[in-house]
Homo-oligomer: 162 residues x 2
DNA sequence: TAATTGTTGACTATTTTACTTGGTTACGTA
DNA sequence: TACGTAACCAAGTAAAATAGTCAACAATTA
């Protein structure tokens, strides 16, 4: 999991799409204008999002893009993963052929950390962000997910990281 | 908070330093060799770490670098923050002068997310990683910190994100 | 004094990011 | 059927970040 501005562009565009494609498809031209992102750059991002089957393209007049599934089923982690290159698996890419244990230690640290952050971003959906947008007030905290994360903290995940 | 390979280099180097500077300073040449990182690149990273007062340089023969404080007081978030450029605060950099609310929504999302991840990385210290290295077995889970994170999840933080 | 190591600055190469240009293809509508 | 619209696609480019090189200088120890 890598966190850069590229991923933020994608999340912003997807949120814009989720907010405006309730009835009709939304054109990239519209999104580009609203979010001040270059149209062609958006095209490249959406090519990846389409290959990841997160959006559907509709050609011709009245066309544009729609979400492939419900906003509540699209999480932030998947959006970022779709547009970001996978982070290079360091020198000892899982082959365990590194001479010194320390390199593998930080490798494990980073992989575990990524998994942790990924899990967190996976718990937030576009639907959550829309709810915030529509309600514009204190949001409903999704207690179950948080509890799950905590349990994982206490049992599995942290064991392999720390 | 930005997560790239640069930050990982820094964390790896700092962990190597923490593991080897128990008695004497450690030269960057040694770290470069062990972790297969270019010496001059390490020099640049350590220049920033020194300015952030996280390491101390000792010149001359027998010199090298040592940690400025105890490994238990150096957390991962600070290391990454020291070497990474601060992420550009988007177009509407806190000035709240953006025309459309959506841009600000994702801006808030990203800032909150960064704070969340930062808090998580702040709860892990070099000492924790050393303990793992030395014990090489199931680590002690720092329950208090985790509980704190959870409480923040439930009360303050998520409100502003979701 | 000589060797060692940090410190600094300037410079280069590679990769990623962000954007541009110029097409083609599919589709709806006049 | 012709036309406009918008997705789709393939290059290439500019700027930035990443990663690394080279060379000089400063402090310290033996």
């Amino acid at each position: 999991m890598r966190l850069t501005t590229k991923g933020r562009y994608a999340v912003t565009a997807m949120l814009d799409l989720a907010l405006h494609s309730r009835t009709n498809p939304v054109t990239l031209t519209d999104i580009a204008a609203r979010q001040t992102i270059s149209l062609s750059y958006l095209e490249q991002l959406f090519a990846r999002l389409r290959r990841a089957d997160m959006v559907k393209g509709v050609r011709g007049p009245g066309g544009g893009y729609t979400l492939s599934s419900d906003a509540n089923n699209i999480n932030i982690a998947d959006i970022i993963a779709a547009v970001d290159e996978p982070i290079d698996a360091t020198k000892c890419g899982g082959e365990a052929n590194c001479q010194n244990e320390k390199a593998c230690l930080t490798h494990d640290l980073w992989m575990g950390l990524s998994a942790q952050i990924r899990q967190y971003l996976k718990s937030i959906t576009l639907g959550d962000l829309i709810a915030k947008q529509l309600a514009q007030e204190t949001a409903i905290v999704k207690s179950e997910e948080i509890v799950n994360i905590v349990e994982l903290h206490k049992t599995n995940e942290l064991h392999s990281i720390l």
